[in-house]
């Protein structure tokens, strides 16, 4: 199949169109703006709607409205913008509306910088906004996956009626790699709940206000049951050379590919290293850690943050194996420095 060279952000946007996304609402922010630019060029010709909103708040609420019509819609932003969107994401989660939210993430806190970062992990995996809710979070590691996971994200969103987030460190948005462009999606879902005008049926209401205590609790129980189901069905991870590994390195996104190289280099130097790469950040693929907690002597989390996913790893191995952390902010750890870390660990621990 013929490959085309595409930027990560463009592959993601094209993936959204392939998935039938026909509404994009966003606000410019580096390093995600190319997604909006791509959609602004393409959507009108496809009968879709592109609106550059006046703010991230307006953008996410346009997604709220757009999704309520049953149309596949999305927004994309980065750190500070994603923070602003949290109010709307909470509403969308409770209204059980499907949509895609993309975080091409940059360094924080505050205005931070526009360097690649994974420091929005907590925000993404803990719900982010107010109330008890979760968002499915997918973490691509390359340009092909920027497209493929976007297509998958729209399907997950519709299947579970939930917002889905794609979290990609900034580099992934900017990197160009050859990809195979997928065929247009043909499987769509019935949406009898959509707000389309009540012709021939009872009025539909999209609402998140539940003043009665009983009903509020009931709504929360319904949401939690759905999250349980997602946890059962959708945990995903990639493993590499974990069977005989003394040290398991854990990384997600592009970071995981860099770690993969370090794992190979470490092995050349006699250190048996392996990799677990969570693909779903929520639900976290904790089962993949059960086995390595029995066989490995150490786990090392490598993140472009000051240590966030490491907490989920610790919960997953539950004290059965020590978990260490290596991370940077403003820089993406390179293969050479991770290899160095692995060799140092091996020397210190004697394996």
């Amino acid at each position: 199949m013929e490959k085309v060279l595409m930027k990560g952000n463009e592959a993601l946007a094209e993936g959204a169109l392939i998935a039938g996304c026909r509404g994009f609402f966003g606000y410019p922010i580096t390093p995600s703006s190319e997604i909006a630019e791509y959609m602004a060029r393409k959507l009108p010709g496809l009968g879709g709607v592109f609106v550059q909103a006046e703010s991230e708040l307006a953008a996410i609420n346009m997604v709220y409205g757009g999704s309520s019509t049953g149309t596949r819609v999305m927004t994309a932003s980065s750190g500070p913008g994603i923070s602003l969107k949290q109010e709307g994401i909470s509403f969308i989660a409770e209204a059980e509306l499907p949509c895609l939210i993309v975080n091409v993430s940059r360094g924080g806190p505050g205005l931070g910088g526009i360097q690649p970062s994974q420091a929005d992990y907590f925000q993404a995996t803990r719900g982010g906004g107010h109330g008890d809710y979760r968002v499915i979070v997918l973490a691509p590691s390359g340009t092909q996956e920027m497209m493929d996971y976007t297509i998958e994200a729209f399907d997950l969103a519709d299947r579970y009626r939930t917002p889905v987030m794609i979290m990609a460190e900034g580099t992934l948005g900017n990197i160009m790699e050859p990809i195979i462009v997928r065929d247009p999606v043909e499987k769509f879902y019935d949406k009898p709940w959509a707000i389309t005008g009540c012709k021939g049926r009872k009025p539909n209401i999209v609402n998140t206000l539940h003043l009665a205590s009983d009903f509020l609790e009931e709504r929360n129980r319904i949401l939690q049951a759905k999250y349980k189901l997602i946890e059962q069905n959708e945990k995903r991870a990639e493993t590499f050379l974990t069977d005989d590994a003394d040290v398991i390195v854990v990384a997600f996104g592009l970071m995981a590919r860099i770690v993969k190289k370090a794992v190979m280099e470490a092995r050349k130097n006699g250190v048996k290293a392996g990799l677990i790469r969570p693909i779903t950040l929520w639900p976290f693929p904790d089962e993949h850690f059960k086995k390595v907690a029995e066989t490995a002597r150490m786990v090392l989390s490598v993140e472009i943050s000051m240590g966030q996913m490491v907490e989920d790893i610790r919960l997953s191995v539950n004290g059965r194996v020590p978990v260490e952390f290596y991370g940077r902010i403003g820089f993406t750890p390179n293969p050479e420095e991770i290899t160095q870390q692995l060799l140092l660990l091996a020397e210190r621990e004697g394996f």
């Binding site: 060279l5 526009i114 900017n174 160009m176 390179n334």
Partner: protein
């Protein structure tokens, strides 16, 4: 991975550094290889300097990033100052000597220099200096065969005017010629 080649392109904005890298990535892809192109973005982008890292490999590319490339194409002096110490031991620097007025400090590096401004003026195409440099680089390294790269000019420059494509091809060949005669 020995068959994996990574090359850094660095210069100031307007020298066509990013598109030089993109051309190489396209050419590598068309030649059936795995490629990745990573631009510098972020704080590095400010102040007018730009760089990108291209990886070309026969097998799957694990890390498209490196702190220590084996080879760098240095289009101006700030880029030499910034990257000289990061090149792998015994690596190679291809230097635009028109804009770099000092030799590298390190003595383990192989240096290939070209007075790019002069070469470009000779063919009356100062805007094509990035293609001149790319032609010289490919002729010297064979990362992608020169004839393969030439085959894909039309495709890579799809949508551009015929005259623009010809100008670029001419510049590319001037670089090939320079490398053949001087490197």
């Amino acid at each position: 991975m020995d068959s994996e080649k990574q090359v850094l392109f660095a210069g100031f904005g307007g020298q066509g550094v990013l598109s030089m890298g993109q051309f190489l990535a396209y050419a590598g892809m068309e030649a059936g290889k795995n490629v990745s192109w990573v631009p510098s973005y972020g704080a590095e982008m400010r102040g007018g300097t730009a760089n990108c890292l291209v990886t070309i490999a026969a097998e799957e590319i694990s890390s498209p990033l490196t702190e220590n490339p084996v080879m760098a194409i240095i289009m101006n002096k700030p880029s030499l100052d910034k990257f000289e110490m990061k090149i792998k031991p015994n690596g190679t620097l291809i230097i635009n000597s028109s804009l770099v007025d000092r030799p590298p400090v390190r003595d383990d590096l192989k240096v290939l220099a070209m007075p790019l401004t002069q070469v470009a003026e000779e063919i009356n195409n100062t805007r094509g200096s990035n293609m001149i440099m790319l032609g010289a680089y490919l002729e010297k390294t064979g990362v992608v065969k020169v004839e393969d790269a030439l085959k894909h000019f039309e495709k890579i420059f799809k949508g551009k005017k015929e005259s623009v494509i010809n100008k670029n091809r001419e510049a590319f060949l001037a670089g090939v010629e320079y490398a053949r005669n001087n490197w």
